[in-house]
């Protein structure tokens, strides 16, 4: 299919992009989700502002013991950036399992988040890493946690004039580990459910879960429970993981032909238990 007609602006500065957004334009980043929905005529934006020329959005900088990634960082780059591999291995794992190489070459971390697919690899992983994003608009700039970005199925809290500019990954802590696992119909397919766990000094510091609810979740109840239990005890970890059902209560469960709500919860609990046992017990 073909898109409806639209105006197109290639922004040469962030201010130009923000100006266009303020007058109703929509951001075009890697186009991997947006162009699909436009071709299916599910989305028919009147005006696109292409941000691909904005070098400011490509930064990869060390920042307060963590990392700042520009919104235009391609998923393919996450697979190879040395700092990501060293500091945030779970993010690299999640990136490598995202889509196929052609899509990864175009898809951006900002676009992935803003598309707000509840099954996104990036969202759950960034949530587990307690990442934040900077959002700019004509009116200024604000920062919010990744888990607060999502308001519903394919929906964010951003308003039309907003541009996500940076993703901030805080200091992962001492002896940091992390891992990402997913269940998907096939390797490189969009996951049915996914779980990411971040660990520092043998304690779980964050858990993100995708594909369970209509938006990606932070598993706060599980995180909290795990602070009280012996993470070497599979039964205790299992019990804590089962609290995921409570975390899901904060949103609507996702259910479709690839996974019923029941299956998704059951599978996410299994993944979570395995990840916690593996990451907290590994030494190296």
């Amino acid at each position: 299919m073909r898109t409806t007609s639209f105006d197109y602006t290639r922004a040469t500065s962030i201010d130009e992009a923000l100006g266009a957004l303020a007058s109703g334009a929509q951001v075009l980043a890697g186009g991997q989700s947006l162009l699909q929905s436009m071709k299916l005529r599910q989305a028919s934006p009147q005006h696109l502002v292409d941000i691909n020329e904005l070098d400011e959005l490509r930064a990869v900088d060390l920042e307060d013991g963590g990392l700042r990634l520009g919104a235009l960082t391609r998923i393919a780059e996450l697979c190879v950036i040395a700092e990501v591999a060293a500091m945030f291995p779970s993010l690299q794992q999640a990136a490598k399992l995202t889509a196929d190489v052609q899509v990864r070459n175009r898809a951006t971390i900002g676009g992935n988040l803003c598309f707000a697919n509840p099954r996104s690899n990036m969202a759950s992983t960034l949530i587990s890493l307690r990442a934040e994003v900077t959002v700019r608009s004509d009116g200024g700039s604000r920062r919010l946690a990744v888990e607060e970005l999502f308001s519903g199925y394919l929906q964010t809290v951003l308003s039309s004039g907003d541009l996500l500019t940076d993703v901030h990954l805080p200091d992962p802590g001492r002896d940091a580990r992390g891992a990402y696992r997913e269940i998907s119909r096939q390797p490189n397919g969009v996951p049915v459910v996914n779980v990411a766990v971040a660990v520092a000094e043998g304690r779980v510091t964050g858990i993100g879960v995708g594909g369970l609810g209509v938006r990606p979740l932070r598993a706060r109840l599980v995180e909290e429970a795990l602070t009280h239990v012996d993470v070497n005890d599979p039964r205790a970890v299992d019990e804590a993981a089962a609290l995921l059902a409570g975390d899901l209560a904060s949103t609507e469960p996702l259910s479709d032909m690839h996974g019923s709500a029941e299956y998704r919860l059951e599978a996410a609990v299994v993944l979570l238990r395995r990840l916690v046992l593996a990451t907290t017990n590994e030494r190296g």
């Binding site: 299919m1 007609s5 299916l40 119909r185 096939q186 969009v190 032909m257 299956y263 599978a267």
Partner: protein
């Protein structure tokens, strides 16, 4: 038996190095791999307009009104037309098959009064650009009166036929009022008093295999470029089709054109898989060309392919086997109920797959008592079409699940029970009618189990089980009937070839087959080259042009190696005879004293007394000419036509109601090792093995490719691909995000083993190839997953094998096994 001791007339006819049997590099690959293919949309035409089709958003609805006036008024729109308007210019779609009292819907390519599935065309436009054409669809106002959607067999009949085979039916709604019910075809036959055998059999086992809806997803969706010349009343159409000649017949009939005035061209077809064996929406752009006077291009969007393309599988099967104490299969009873969607005979040709499923459920095993009932039910989903496998996979899943079930119940090794029952003497007339002309079934099964090293695998499996891991092993046999020949249909049983040597000594072959990626340009050239003493590179194969090629039937049912090759072989044989006769006259020897090869003909034992084929050809055609070179010959040039048919097709039902639709039978055996994560339901396929026998192999590389390709499609269908509908008949899988095609990382290593048991009924000993992997793969995967879950006591008989469903099997298992952390 193997390649070396198989008899092959070609071998003795072609001098020292026949091309048949060699992996000659595919002629078509250079152009395809360098972007020089000529697919339908590649055609350049003068000043084209673009066609877009408006499709019904409802599964079942009455069309109250269609108003195209807003669309027609849009600046770039050339023509917008409703179904009612179109009906003034064409006929209903003629049925592609009409036999066995099947009911045939009376429908137009654009719906007039009612829609029967989400995706049925309700209007069409042509406009100056594709963008404008698609914009215009939004400006067509259609008023529908929704009707209750028949989304399942239960909706269609009110009760499942397994519970009440003869009703009474209480349909939620009737798709075609004139039928009074929703059954398109109800076919039954029996032979050998099966009920009595069952009544006295020591063991009766049963299973209910079922497959979900999936189909082929060719890279090139349906596409047409149509040009109508009003002065000459001629229509020239490029169509992405497997059946150029029948397409011409049907399109001419629908549009009321004289058939010789219609030319159908199909150069490179971007995937067929059986899916392109009908004329349905293809006729819409043709009508638009006729009405608008402009060249029309239509290229079907992927989503439209998924919502309206021919679908397949989607059946439930109840199979029972009567067994003796030693595992001997005594009788089969089966009941196959297919959910055809809205139609399997007029808009597309899937109905036959259910009949095949009901005919071949003995597979490669010996049984004398057989009873089948097949019910083809219509529902408000997309039409039911042909797809690689065409019911043979249905039959295979039934018999192989039955064998595993019997093996478990009787305490016999699953491979041993198969070996015990495999047919060993040929020709073998199956209880259901077909004649299996030759085979080496038992050896194929041995080949696979040896390649797998089954004892070592079983040991590994036990070790894994001790560690709490669930490894499963599947081994199955399969029968691959080929060259399907359906009477009273466009899928008949003959093929044509016209072979000529040109005056420059090169050969030209006009074949009624159609290239759809299966390499016929190469394999037919190999055969011709051997017959005429030429190099395959000097043989031009022409197909897919109804103006050039005599009426033939195209590509379907793995018929090329049976029909197409045999026709070429015979026609080339006649040209060879004339070539040798002319050369003998020129060299003043007897034709029997001549040898032919590498573009030359020479006197046996006197290699210096020779002529080039070119010299002979020039002499025959021009100087001196046929009077001197082929005196007394009825047709004195180096050209011959042949129409090949064969005796093993019989379409007049015998006293038991049986027909024989497949003359040649390939076969194989398959093995697989999987590991199931019982907590998540994920399946890891470690490795697959497939031993295959398609008779004489003309080109091993091509055959290898066919086996791998069909295995991957079988795997994709069993594991990932799904056309899923909700209970209102709405398609849930409208993009390839949801309809998951197998990707390279999902495909395990596949080891292919070959065996050649020639067919006695084809001149080269060839049999069809191309569907084997689709036929056996579902069964071997289900078998292996069941084996992996043995300690849970579950039966695995339904597809798809996705994590959710596999996990549900374990969760709902009668026995629960301990799970490791």
């Amino acid at each position: 038996m193997n390649a070396h001791d198989s008899h092959s007339p070609a071998d003795s006819n072609t001098g020292p190095e026949p091309f048949v049997g060699q992996s000659v590099r595919r002629t078509e690959d250079l152009r395809l791999l360098t972007g020089q293919g000529m697919f339908t949309d590649d055609a350049v035409v003068v000043d084209p307009v673009y066609c877009a089709i408006l499709r019904s958003p409802h599964a079942h609805a009455r069309i109250v009104s269609v108003d195209t006036s807003r669309a027609q008024a849009m600046p770039e729109v050339v023509l917008a037309i409703s179904g009612a308007e179109a009906a003034e210019h064409w006929t209903q779609i003629p049925a592609g098959m009409d036999l066995m009292d099947m009911k045939l819907p009376k429908v137009y390519a654009i719906a007039t009064d009612k829609v029967h599935y989400e995706g049925e065309p309700v209007a069409a436009v042509v406009a100056e650009t594709r963008y404008a054409a698609e914009d215009a669809l939004a400006a067509i106002d259609v008023e529908y009166e929704p009707l209750p959607a028949v989304a399942s067999v239960e909706d269609a009949l009110g009760v499942h036929p397994f519970d009440a085979p003869d009703g009474p039916w209480s349909p939620k709604a009737v798709l075609y009022e004139e039928w009074g019910h929703n059954i398109q075809c109800d076919w039954a036959f029996e032979i050998g008093d099966p009920d009595a055998v069952f009544a006295s059999a020591p063991h009766v086992v049963s299973c209910r295999p079922a497959a979900h809806r999936y189909s082929g997803v060719p890279m090139e969706t349906r596409a047409v470029v149509a040009e109508y010349d009003a002065g000459r009343e001629t229509l020239k159409m490029r169509v992405s089709t497997q059946l150029p000649h029948q397409s011409r017949t049907l399109i001419a009939q629908i549009l009321g054109l004289s058939e010789p005035n219609v030319q159908v061209l199909a150069d490179d077809v971007g995937g067929g898989f059986g899916n392109k064996t009908q004329v349905d929406a293809e006729v819409i752009p043709a009508l638009m060309a006729k009405l608008s006077g402009r060249a029309v291009k239509w290229f079907e969007p992927r989503g439209d392919w998924l919502s309206s393309g021919p679908a397949s599988r989607d059946y439930a099967h109840h199979v029972e086997g009567a067994f003796d104490n030693d595992g001997t299969l005594l009788a089969i009873r089966e009941h196959l109920v297919g959910d055809e969607g809205c139609d399997g005979a007029t808009r597309s040709a899937g109905l036959g797959a259910l009949l095949v499923g009901g005919t071949y459920s003995a597979g490669p095993y010996h049984v004398r008592s057989y009873k089948a009932r097949v019910q083809a039910v219509v529902t408000n989903k997309a039409p039911y079409g042909a797809y690689r496998g065409y019911g043979k996979e249905t039959a295979n899943l039934a018999i192989e699940r039955l064998m595993d079930t019997a093996a478990a119940k009787l305490g016999i090794d699953p491979v041993a029970i198969r070996q015990h029952n495999l047919v060993r003497e040929f020709p073998y007339e199956m209880a259901a009618g077909p004649i299996i002309e030759s085979g080496s079934f038992s050896q194929l099964l041995d080949m696979v189990t040896e390649a797998m090293d089954l004892p070592a695998l079983r040991l590994r499996q036990e070790q894994a089980r001790a560690e709490g891991r669930h490894v499963g092993i599947g081994v199955i046999s399969f029968l691959e009937p080929s060259a399907g020949s359906i009477p009273m249909s466009v899928f008949n049983g003959y093929e044509t070839a016209s072979v000529r040597i040109m005056p420059d000594g090169k050969a030209m072959v006009l074949s009624g087959l159609q290239g759809i990626g299966q390499g016929v340009e190469t394999s037919l050239a190999q055969i011709t080259a051997d017959r005429l003493g030429l190099h395959p590179g000097d043989v031009r194969i022409v197909y897919g042009d109804t103006k050039a090629v005599p009426y033939g039937l195209g590509a379907y049912a793995s018929r090329g190696a049976t029909y197409g090759m045999s026709a070429v072989y015979e026609a080339a044989g006649e040209v060879r005879r004339k070539l040798l006769k002319a050369a003998a006259g020129m060299l003043e020897v007897d034709p029997e004293d001549l040898e032919l090869g590498r573009g030359e003909v020479w006197v046996a034992g006197v290699p210096t007394t020779r002529l080039s084929v070119q010299e002979v050809a020039r002499a025959v055609y021009l100087s001196p000419g046929p009077y001197a070179t082929l005196p007394g010959e009825e047709s004195p040039t180096l050209e011959a036509n042949h129409v090949w048919t064969n005796p093993n097709v019989s379409w007049v039902p015998d006293e038991h109601g049986r027909v024989r639709l497949y003359p040649t039978h390939g076969s194989g055996a398959q093995g697989v090792v999987v590991e199931v994560d019982v907590e998540t339901g994920e399946i890891q396929i470690e490795k697959m093995w497939i031993a295959h026998d398609c008779g004489k192999v003309v080109n091993p590389a091509i055959v290898h490719g066919q086996i791998i390709g069909s295995t991957v499609q079988g795997l994709g269908g069993t594991m990932f691909e799904q056309l899923s509908y909700d209970d209102q008949g709405k398609l849930l899988t409208k993009t390839l995000n949801d309809y998951q095609l197998p990707n390279i990382m999902s495909v395990p290593p596949i080891e292919v083993l070959h065996m050649e048991t020639p067919s006695p009924i084809t001149p080269l000993g060839t049999k069809g190839v191309g569907e084997g992997g689709c036929i056996g793969t579902p069964a071997v995967l289900l078998s292996a997953v069941e084996d992996a879950l043995r300690e849970f006591g579950v039966t695995v008989e339904r597809t798809p094998l996705d994590p959710m469903r596999v996990r549900a099997l374990v969760r709902n298992a009668p026995q629960t096994a301990p799970v490791a952390g």
